[in-house]
């Protein structure tokens, strides 16, 4: 017995105004005491719904059917609200994906944690403050007493996630359900949180870990379930699953992860023959620079966000730019794109001064430099359909009659069908949106495209497609890329040279191979160390 969670043939269906959505379609799941089970799968595969169903929070419109649904040996299928309240926080603690919005922004962190203590009467009122401090200490929040009095917005993302975990642990549950606990975090912070979870598990806690990132779960999970479309396609011990995936989908997921070893080959089977080599990189003519930036500095108030940054991008070259959140990557990108004036320093694009000049002077060259942003939807006029979005960037000289043909051709180049023409970007998937953005960018055959985190918001498999696409286009047009990402693997996969930024300054730059294999700077080293790798030989 001993199983904390025991689920058989679970179905969850939602009533929506547009019809029924079958989110979970018959999964089996067990979590034994002290075990760490991970669920992975792409977006929308039903992971979160499964997690929420376990604590009775699937939602009012949800219909749930299961052959067996037991928590700590109790059948919960007939639970009433009062019974569920005894389960929540006490039997199972829940940690949600986005710590930024999962703590009440109007209340102090301490109050949030104490709430659990009060609800389940864990300790007496007088001892609560002490216990809150203790819990925060347990999750390695420095200065727990002071932090307890602060509000969520005063805490960094990592601290917030820790506080959230502390509140989930406060009721001393036997099971912790963590729904994507590291998704929004920097690699280094992500590593710390994983270490923390591992530590709790070592202390006897059972874990149900949910993630879309195989590399993350590989670090601590005993068993992994791979979900797709509401079903479990494969499950087994982590080690076995990673080393010898049986299901093609699992294999596809593993292949799609960009890294040093994936350099030069396709990530996705959908963009070309599986695991084949990509077309050759364009020849980089280092002497022929597309863009030169020297001594860029940007301040906001007395806060310097970019400090003396300089680099060049050769024709056809892909320059990777990595760094933690807030290190100034996007600021650099905006300066280079001519959207922001630097306080000091200059940028020359195609040997023409690009900064400190009137927008009117920049305009003729604008078409040569394109930008792809992290949030493609935000970069589309919300009223426009795909055709208009792309056509806006076509050469104005192209006749009205030919414009549609051009758009269709561009869509074709990014692997989209012409039947999307009339669609609203909102009605597209994330990957499709990013492709539309790319189609729009390449419409002008630019010499440089600035890509600010173009794949961060995408699932691995979709990310793989987009990365492959960029590689193809780069080869075909000889376009140079300024590729910004916080994911070292992606940069390693795609870039020729890399620039590492920390606190607004460039700490290291050079060819990718050199920098990532022999990092000279401590910061680069710590980034690399924190990188969760798909270690297929066993758990760390």
């Amino acid at each position: 017995m001993g199983d904390l969670v025991s689920v058989e043939d679970l179905h969850v269906t939602f009533d929506t105004p547009t019809g029924e959505v079958a989110a979970v379609r018959g999964i089996d799941l067990t979590v034994a005491a002290g075990e760490c089970v991970a669920i992975v799968g792409e977006s929308g595969s039903g992971k979160s719904v499964t997690a929420r169903t376990l604590v009775g929070l699937a939602g009012r419109d949800a219909r749930i059917r299961a052959a067996r649904l037991e928590l700590a040996g109790t059948d919960v299928r007939a639970h009433r609200p009062r019974d569920w309240r005894q389960v929540r926080g006490r039997v199972a603690g829940l940690v949600l994906q986005d710590a930024l919005v999962s703590l009440d922004p109007l209340r102090t962190v301490g109050a949030e944690i104490a709430e659990v203590l009060a609800t389940h009467e864990i300790v007496r009122r007088s001892e609560r403050a002490g216990r809150v401090g203790h819990l925060l200490d347990l999750v390695h929040v420095p200065e727990p007493q002071r932090r307890a009095r602060q509000h969520p917005h005063q805490l960094s993302g990592g601290l917030r996630q820790r506080a959230l975990i502390a509140s989930a642990l406060a009721g001393e549950p036997a099971l912790l359900i963590a729904d994507e606990p590291t998704t929004a975090l920097d690699v280094t912070v992500q590593a710390q949180i994983l270490a923390l979870l591992a530590e709790r598990r070592a202390a006897g806690l059972s874990l149900l870990l949910i993630s879309h990132d195989l590399a993350v779960v590989a670090q601590i999970a005993d068993r992994v379930l791979v979900m797709r479309d509401g079903r479990v396609v494969e499950q087994g011990p982590t080690e076995r699953l990673l080393r010898a995936p049986e299901h093609p989908y699992t294999r596809q997921l593993l292949d799609a992860v960009p890294s040093a070893s994936s350099r030069g080959r396709r990530l996705s089977a959908t963009t070309g023959p599986a695991r084949t080599a990509l077309p050759a990189r364009p020849e980089v003519r280092r002497g022929d620079t597309v863009l030169t930036a020297t001594g860029l500095t940007k301040r906001y108030g007395d806060h310097t966000v970019v400090r003396d940054v300089g680099f060049t991008i050769g024709r056809g070259e892909t320059l990777g730019l990595v760094g933690e959140s807030g290190s100034g990557k996007s600021t650099v990108a905006r300066i280079v794109a001519g959207l922001l004036e630097p306080d000091e320093g200059t940028v020359a694009f195609e040997r023409t001064p690009w900064t400190s000049v009137a927008e009117r002077t920049r305009r003729p060259l604008r078409r040569q430099l394109q930008v792809i942003s992290q949030d493609p939807l935000g970069s589309f006029d919300p009223r426009w359909n795909v055709q208009r979005v792309i056509a806006e960037n076509l050469d104005p000289d192209i006749s009205r009659a030919d414009r549609t043909d051009h758009v269709v051709e561009l869509l074709h180049r990014v692997g989209l069908d012409r039947n999307l023409l009339g669609r609203h970007p909102r009605a597209l998937s994330g990957g499709q949106r990013q492709r539309v953005a790319i189609a729009r960018a390449i419409a002008t055959r630019p010499s440089l495209i600035i890509c600010d985190e173009p794949v961060s918001a995408l699932d691995v498999s979709v990310q793989a497609q987009v990365l492959d696409l960029l590689a193809d286009l780069r080869a075909a047009d000889g376009t140079a890329l300024l590729f910004i990402s916080h994911d070292l693997g992606v940069v390693h996969h795609l870039a020729d040279r890399v620039l590492v930024m920390a606190d607004g300054a460039v700490v290291e730059q050079g060819p990718v191979g050199d920098v990532f294999t022999y990092p000279r700077h401590d910061y680069t080293r710590s980034l690399l160390a924190a990188l969760p790798a798909l270690v297929t030989t066993g758990r760390p």
Binding site: D98, P105, V116
Partner: protein, 311 residues
């Protein structure tokens, strides 16, 4: 931390003074532009001869250039002198002073009742727990905010006061006389605030932190009271300016309907008879109250929402 920085308070006050000045000046200019001159106003439908006109002009200093009169007006305003009423022949400060209390009592009573009602309605009907009650209440709210308040007042008056004699018809002294006007003024406020609050509660209930709170085993009531309601209060607080406008504007109508004394009556009389000093004073006063109310609302927002405290 925790307290609004002095600079932002000062900025607000400065902005408030500007608003005040603009309001007072606009009103002054507007009245200047009005047809019929001040002398006509002072004569009313009384006897009109050149001698009388001359007397009036001399008495009120109307022969001075408009600029001088305007500056004189501002100068006296800064010193707290609101001038004399043309119509009532008494100092404006006195006229307004003695009419302030009834309006204030009515407004405070109505605001309190309205806000309380709204809170109760919002808490009871938020979420999907009692769909029929929610429907009933949102329908009623819509009706309340869509019906002219004087109609509500007249109906209440006819039924409860004339027909059944439950409440006195008019007068300001008796506490019972306050009941109907208060209800009339409070109902539309309650209607709108309840909608805003419930909307806020609903929205808050959709937030991930509420899911987290529920995952801790809290009862719905606690989730509502401790988490959702505070969030719902934020948009409600920004309605303070609107609330104030409704109260003062409402007072004009309600006092008329219920024959109550108060600023509303003073204002209406002053406006219809072009009693310039009184109109200007009411405008300045209401602009001042508006500024104070809005500043207070901002401060309350700061108290409710710690995120706003960063400067």
């Amino acid at each position: 931390m925790g307290r609004p920085p002095l600079r932002s308070v000062l900025r607000r006050v400065a902005a408030g003074v500007v608003v005040l000045w603009v309001a007072a000046t606009t009103a002054y200019l507007a009245l200047l532009a009005a047809p019929g001159d001040t002398v006509d106003t002072l004569i009313g439908d009384g006897v009109d001869t050149p001698q009388i006109r001359a007397d009036i002009i001399a008495e009120w200093g109307l022969d001075r250039p408009a600029v001088v009169q305007y500056l004189d007006y501002l100068w006296r305003l800064v010193h707290g002198d609101l001038g004399r009423s043309y119509l009532l022949q008494r100092p404006v400060a006195e006229v307004i002073g003695e009419q302030l209390a009834p309006t204030l009592i009515l407004s405070v009573a109505a605001a309190t009742l309205g806000v309380l009602l709204a809170l109760i309605i919002a808490v009871v009907t938020a979420g999907d727990r009692r769909p029929w009650l929610r429907r009933l209440s949102s329908g009623t709210e819509l009706l309340l905010v869509s019906t002219p308040s004087f109609l509500i007042g007249l109906v209440l008056l006819s039924v409860l006061s004339f027909r059944f004699g439950l409440f006195p018809v008019a007068g300001g002294a008796d506490l019972r006389a306050l009941v109907l006007p208060t209800i009339t003024l409070a109902l539309p406020i309650a209607g709108l605030l309840a909608q805003v609050l419930r909307d806020g509660v609903d929205r808050a209930l959709d937030e991930p932190f509420v899911l987290t709170a529920r995952s801790r085993g809290l009862t719905e009531r606690v989730v509502l009271a401790r988490h959702a309601l505070r969030h719902a209060l934020l948009p409600a607080v920004t309605l303070a300016g609107w609330l104030f406008g409704t109260l003062l504007g409402g007072a004009v109508i309600i006092e008329q309907v219920f024959g109550r004394p108060g600023l509303g009556q003073v204002t209406l009389n002053a406006v219809t008879s072009k009693d310039m000093p009184v109109v200007l004073a009411v405008v300045t006063l209401s602009a001042a109250v508006y500024v104070v109310v809005n500043t207070a609302a901002d401060l309350v927002s700061l108290v409710i929402d710690p995120r706003l405290r960063r400067s």
